[in-house]
Symmetry: C2
Subunit: 123 residues, 2 copies
């Protein structure tokens, strides 16, 4: 049972466990903060409450980001990709996105970094 | 059978189908371009060839991005997240990332966009 807009639910493509990956990005700096998982109801809550809400696969419950840590994610935009099987969520992240205290979940384990001294930057 | 560095393979956490989601970001502008899926060998190829390589779930084969379209992704950095179950790939994207011709796969279906006129921007 879900409250998600039927027009959105009709085009959403879910994995076998009924979830869709959500890429979470800081809206102004462009940092990729984390990847979460949403079912229809978590997407509905995210769209209607202004607070990023996920399905926790480890705890098997809804997870309103920042509810216990205080590190809320205020929703700025939500988009589906061309295949309707991935969500891009742009947020304003309060404090650290990662439970380790790092700003993003991708800060600690860099496998490869190609140096481009003097390289062209289009930003 | 895979050629992936055993130290990386040992910490990688895969879904039931042996895949890990890879968030793909333009390295300089920060745009989130797409989400792809990698198995161990695709990650190995991405790390060693400098070309982003995925496992195509629809075609059931390795997919060297841009091989047919010419829209290559040149790898700039590769990182694992804190849970070791998501990859962040920063690339230099040639042309459009999306098969529709859009720059990113998230351009066409925006579900919500919160206007913040005069809002603070930290970028």
């Amino acid at each position: 049972m879900t409250d998600l807009d039927p027009a959105i639910a009709a085009r959403l493509k879910r994995s076998a466990d009924g979830l869709v990956p959500a890429v979470v990005q800081q809206h102004d700096t462009g940092e990729v903060l984390m990847l979460g998982w949403m079912d229809d109801q978590a997407l509905h809550m995210t769209l209607t409450t202004g607070r990023a809400t996920y399905w926790s696969r480890s705890r098997n419950e809804y997870w309103v980001k920042g509810e216990t840590s205080g590190h809320q994610q205020w929703v700025k935009s939500v988009a589906l990709d061309c295949d309707k099987d991935t969500i891009l969520l742009q947020v304003d992240q309060v404090g650290a996105a990662c439970h380790t205290g790092d700003r993003t979940c991708f800060d600690a384990d860099v496998l490869l970094s190609v140096d481009t001294p003097g390289g062209e930057h289009r930003a």
